[in-house]
Amino acid sequence: MLHLALFLIFGAVCVAGAVNLLAQRHPINSALSLVVVMGSLAGEYLLLGAEFVAAVQVIVYAGAIMVLFVFVIMLLNAGEEERTRGSRIAVLFGIPGLLVGSVLIAWVLIAHSGTQPVPLGALPGPPREIAMLLFHDFLLPFEVTSVLVLIAIMGAVVLAARPEAVEHTKKEG
């Protein structure tokens, strides 16, 4: 009972945040509502027992990635988005397509909703086991992603640095 209530609360906050993300016209509001979504998702994870995932969700997503977003928004001093009619296709095809797709998926889920319920804290993901999986079974993907991150860092530096800045650092060596 409490479980379902918590689920519904978090879920409601989640959906509200997502909708708000779309409704808001100022990027920073969207960003904050996304943070809210992530926070409540962390709550959902806790309900599912994935405490470690929840914590990392908060630290990485809310604490790092979204901070980056906010940071960029502040840096570029992005204002309200103006309403331009750029793309008819997005409206003509995309939204109907999206509706069709989601309706179909919903139908499938409802049709097969005979899934047995998940108890509270169904699968506790203690850091130790996750570490075992991450550093033992999934070692190769882990390393690959680390390389990916490295590349991403360098790419970000190269992309964002002003040419003259790059020259400057080159001179400095």
Partner: protein, 100 residues
């Protein structure tokens, strides 16, 4: 006790919101956030299925998704900065040099 399908519906809704944002928003940064939203929706389904099948690997995949998302955010935001520097706008409708 919450049926698994609830979680899946929730993640589906989040994903759909992400797609919708991609479709209707003009601001590059917001569109980018929509992507993150989709990723989150997927993550939720990952964790839900992990709980369903008692397989921790589902949660591990969430970490991979997060890492990818982080990398993507770093590069993407850098790109956004570069675009803004050259085009003086964040409106995707005005960043359409790729057309024929």
């Amino acid at each position: 006790m919450v049926p698994l399908s609830y979680y899946l519906v929730l993640s589906g809704i989040l994903f759909a919101c992400g797609v919708l944002g991609f479709l209707i928003k003009r601001n590059i940064i917001t569109i980018f956030m929509s992507i993150e939203l989709m990723l989150n929706g997927v993550n939720l389904s990952f964790v839900a299925f992990a709980a369903q099948w008692h397989a921790l690997s589902g949660q591990v995949f969430v970490f991979f998704v997060m890492v990818v998302a982080a990398a993507e955010a770093a590069v993407g935001l850098a790109i956004i900065i570069a675009v803004y520097r050259t085009r003086e706008t964040l409106n995707v409708d005005q960043v359409n040099l790729l057309k024929l």
